[in-house]
């Protein structure tokens, strides 16, 4: 390969369409169906709206670059959620940008009407571990089955029920506790 070959390749790479795992129409249709719930999920489990926006774009990009063959849309969606979940965990390990404090998560649902009960839910969610948040969110906000939750979180299907029970119990305790009690616990 000569330098002129390399320069030609560089020029082509800078302007030509790069092949991705989906074509534009398929991607846009899939994105329109999944972006809002995924952003809500990322906001809740990361606790940070800015981070959630970044991770949303990153999740779709990694999906587009993936060499996986998806037999169904559900398979593709689970894969996307798994990417997103791993990204949140990675970002949490890499920095302290993810909220894990008693502060309420006030980013996403505060735009528009907000009810007192929802603030309590967000405050309680913020005090859970990210995996507990993800479990509760997938089960009750997204209505995912235990099998789907297991796929997204990378745990055994059989253990989801117990993990969910524990997370629910912890969340119930936090919902019953008053904010000043939470701060002390």
């Amino acid at each position: 390969m000569t330098f002129s070959d390399v320069q030609r390749l560089q020029a082509e790479a800078g302007t030509a369409d790069v092949p991705l795992a989906m074509d534009e129409d398929a991607f846009r249709a899939f994105y329109d169906r999944t972006a809002s719930p995924l952003l809500a999920y990322l906001c809740r489990i990361s606790g940070n709206r800015q981070l959630a926006d970044d991770l949303l774009q990153e999740s779709y990009y990694r999906l587009l670059k993936a060499r996986e063959v998806f037999e169904t849309e559900a398979h593709r969606r689970h894969y996307l959620y798994r990417i997103a979940t791993n990204l949140v965990h990675d970002s949490r390990r890499g920095s302290e940008r993810v909220l894990h404090t008693a502060e309420p998560i006030t980013d996403i649902a505060t735009a528009g009407e907000d009810r007192e009960g929802h603030t309590d839910v967000r405050r309680a969610m913020a005090r859970l571990k990210p995996r507990e948040r993800a479990l509760l969110w997938l089960a009750y906000a997204q209505g995912a089955s235990h099998g789907e939750i297991a796929t997204v979180l990378g745990v055994k299907t059989g253990s989801v029920k117990l993990l969910l029970f524990r997370a629910r119990r912890k969340m119930a305790g936090l919902l019953r506790a008053r904010p000043n009690e939470e701060g002390r616990s």
């Binding site: 560089q10 809002s36 528009g112 629910r168």
Partner: protein, 164 residues
């Protein structure tokens, strides 16, 4: 782990938006009396309602923007990947130049050595040594040339291989 057989039924009511107002009275009565179901309704109902609000409030970028960003990034990465052969060529050129310099030095240094030793050890008139006469004449020029090559070689290489 404590579970109740009616959790599934309760979840159906929550997921379909029937809990608690339009749920069957009998189910509501059960939940009132069952601690497990009460806890389930409390948590699942709250998270479900919050999920609906969060999805309504979530405003992701449009699919067109998301696609465009993905394309831009893929192109950038492809261009970066195409850069790699040039980086490797740079590294090879530097390595080859350095090797050449070392080889030249290994030839020149033994030739200059007697002259340098003699110069350092005594203040005698070195021109009286016939073998060192040539070294005295060409040695400094050769050393200067090597020094210039060492300094200017990488610069010339960079200028030759730079994009613009």
């Amino acid at each position: 782990m404590i579970t109740c057989a009616r959790e599934t039924e309760l979840w159906e009511a929550i997921a379909r938006g029937r809990w608690p107002e339009t749920a069957p009275a009998e189910l509501r009565a059960h939940v009132e009396s069952c601690g497990t179901c009460r806890e389930f309704a409390e948590v699942a109902g709250a998270v479900h309602a919050d999920g609906i609000d969060a999805r309504c409030a979530a405003t992701p970028p449009t699919s067109a923007i998301a696609w465009w960003r993905a394309q831009m990034r893929a192109r950038h990465e492809a261009a970066h990947a195409a850069d790699r052969p040039i980086t490797i060529a740079h590294a090879l050129a530097v390595a080859a130049g350095s090797g050449l310099m070392v080889a030249l030095m290994s030839i020149v240094v033994p030739w200059l050595r007697p002259f340098v030793i003699r110069l350092v050890q005594s203040g005698e008139n070195i021109t009286s040594l016939p073998t060192l006469g040539l070294a005295q004449q060409w040695g400094p020029i050769l050393a200067a040339a090597l020094l210039m090559m060492a300094v200017l070689g990488p610069v010339a290489l960079y200028l030759a291989l730079a994009d613009d």
